[in-house]
């Protein structure tokens, strides 16, 4: 399959890329890892007249903790996230997530920021970033702004990004002591999109859940933040009864559609089961077990 014709631009700096995007408007798409965009072009699901490749802009592949956040630059590959000693030691939920995205070869090019910017509710990082309370930095020619991931997804394949803007960074709050997170994905085979997925993040204090975050993958037209389930957990002990009710509330918050991966009722049941499993693992990690 050959993509439809387009003009290719390879700016060397971010201001140059932003100026191009500002000029080309709706006609342009940003290319970074290309592992979602190029398949879309090949299938003719998208036919932009211009691709602006940010892949040659130096300095966008940083992955570091600074001022209270883990900062993931636009060109950090999934493979780099997965291999990072910092991420492996302090953010196991991010390793859970990266390790189940597509396959290792795709992850050598696919970017973490692209996984959000693509706006696909079947992508895995959105649920995790919702659970972690992450933010994205959106940069335009005139200014940049910070948007909570919870407000980033506006519809199926649509996000808060304007055509002239680039998602330049994901900011994950550095996890406090006594916290833990986990991502659990049900897939038919290696590399498939999730039949369903659940991310959970718990902050424990004095044996009680101080704060909880829960995100769901491929269980609605946008990534789902299970806010009621999160509220239910606050103030409870990290125990089965609380997890069971949170699972029920998370399933109720989901609105999956039926496809070859399963019927609606099945997917809602998987939302419940996976939420409970993610909570159990998050609690074990929070308790250092």
């Amino acid at each position: 399959m050959i993509p439809p014709p387009f003009d290719y631009h390879a700016p060397k700096t971010l201001p140059e890329a932003l100026a191009l995007l500002g000029r080309l408007g709706e006609e342009a798409k940003v290319l970074s890892g290309g592992q979602s965009l190029l398949p879309l072009l090949k299938l003719r699901f998208a036919q932009p007249a211009h691709l602006v490749d940010i892949g040659r802009i130096p300095g966008l592949d940083y992955l570091e903790e600074k001022d209270g956040y883990l900062r993931i630059g636009a060109l950090v590959r999934e493979s780099a996230l997965e291999a990072s000693p910092l991420v492996r030691s302090k953010y196991p939920i991010l390793v859970d997530t990266a390790a189940v995205i597509a396959d290792p070869i795709v992850r050598n090019l696919a970017t973490v920021c692209g996984n959000l910017a693509h706006g696909d509710p079947a992508n895995d990082h959105p649920a995790t970033m919702l659970a972690l309370g992450a933010e994205v930095v959106i940069t335009g020619a005139a200014a940049s702004r910070t948007v909570p991931v919870a407000q980033f997804f506006t519809g199926l394949f649509s996000t808060a990004l304007a055509p002239s803007e680039v998602l330049t960074e994901i900011r994950v709050p550095v996890p406090p002591a006594g916290s833990g997170g986990a991502y659990v994905k049900l897939e038919r085979k290696v590399g498939d999109f999730a039949t369903a997925g659940a991310a959970a993040f718990l902050v424990l204090k004095g044996g009680v859940i101080e704060r909880a975050g829960i995100g769901l993958t491929n269980l609605g037209p946008t990534p789902v933040k299970a806010a009621e389930a999160e509220r239910h957990l606050a103030g409870k002990k990290p125990e089965e009864a609380a997890f069971a009710e949170a699972g029920r509330l998370a399933a109720a918050a989901s609105s999956p559609s039926a496809d070859r991966r399963g019927a609606v009722d099945y997917k809602k049941e998987m939302a419940r089961v996976l939420t409970v499993r993610a909570l159990r693992r998050a609690a074990r990690r929070a308790e250092g077990r």
Binding site: M1, I2, P3, P4, P5, F6, D7, Y8, A10, L31, G34, Q35, L38, P39, L41, K42, L51, D53, G55, A102, D103, P104, I105, V106, N108, L109, V190, G191
Partner: protein
């Protein structure tokens, strides 16, 4: 649509081409450079038959634009043999019967080579994880894993 003049170091030799923006790397290799060892399998980023190394890293060349490879190094299966001597990964596939129909083999060889370049003594699990983006429809995985182990032991 403007064409792009690109230079790609293919198996160590700089090669030039005038390409359309939309040309995929796999087509640059197969059609412009006539290096047909890199196979097109699913053409949908799943099967890994088209795996080549871009600056030493395995990528699916059906999901990379030729222009993205401009100024970079690409290694294909044709570059494995050196001075009439098979690469240990090729020797391993031969000795351990690591191929049946052979369609996935170029991709398996490149993924295996890249794994051994960064991990000289991979465990069986590490080998299996590394090739999880390369599908063998003959399902010859047992011997493919043995072939990579054979190559690891050879050095």
């Amino acid at each position: 649509m403007a064409k792009h003049a690109i230079t790609v170091a293919v198996n160590g030799t700089p090669r030039q081409a005038e390409v359309e923006s939309r040309l995929l790397l796999v087509h640059l290799l197969r059609e412009n450079f006539r290096l047909t060892g890199t196979h097109i399998g699913c053409d949908t980023t799943h099967c890994g038959a088209c795996t080549v190394l871009l600056d030493g890293v395995p990528v699916k060349s059906c999901t990379v634009l030729a222009v993205q490879a401009d100024g970079r190094a690409v290694a294909t299966v044709e570059g494995l043999e050196k001075d009439g001597k098979l690469d240990p990964i090729q020797e391993g596939f031969m000795q351990e019967h690591g191929l049946q129909c052979g369609y996935c083999t170029p991709g398996m060889l490149m993924t295996g080579r890249a794994l051994l370049d960064r991990n000289k003594t991979p465990s069986e699990e590490e080998i299996r994880r590394a090739i999880s983006g390369n599908l063998c429809r003959c399902t010859g995985y047992v011997n493919i894993v043995k072939a990579v182990q054979h190559a690891a032991a050879a050095k």
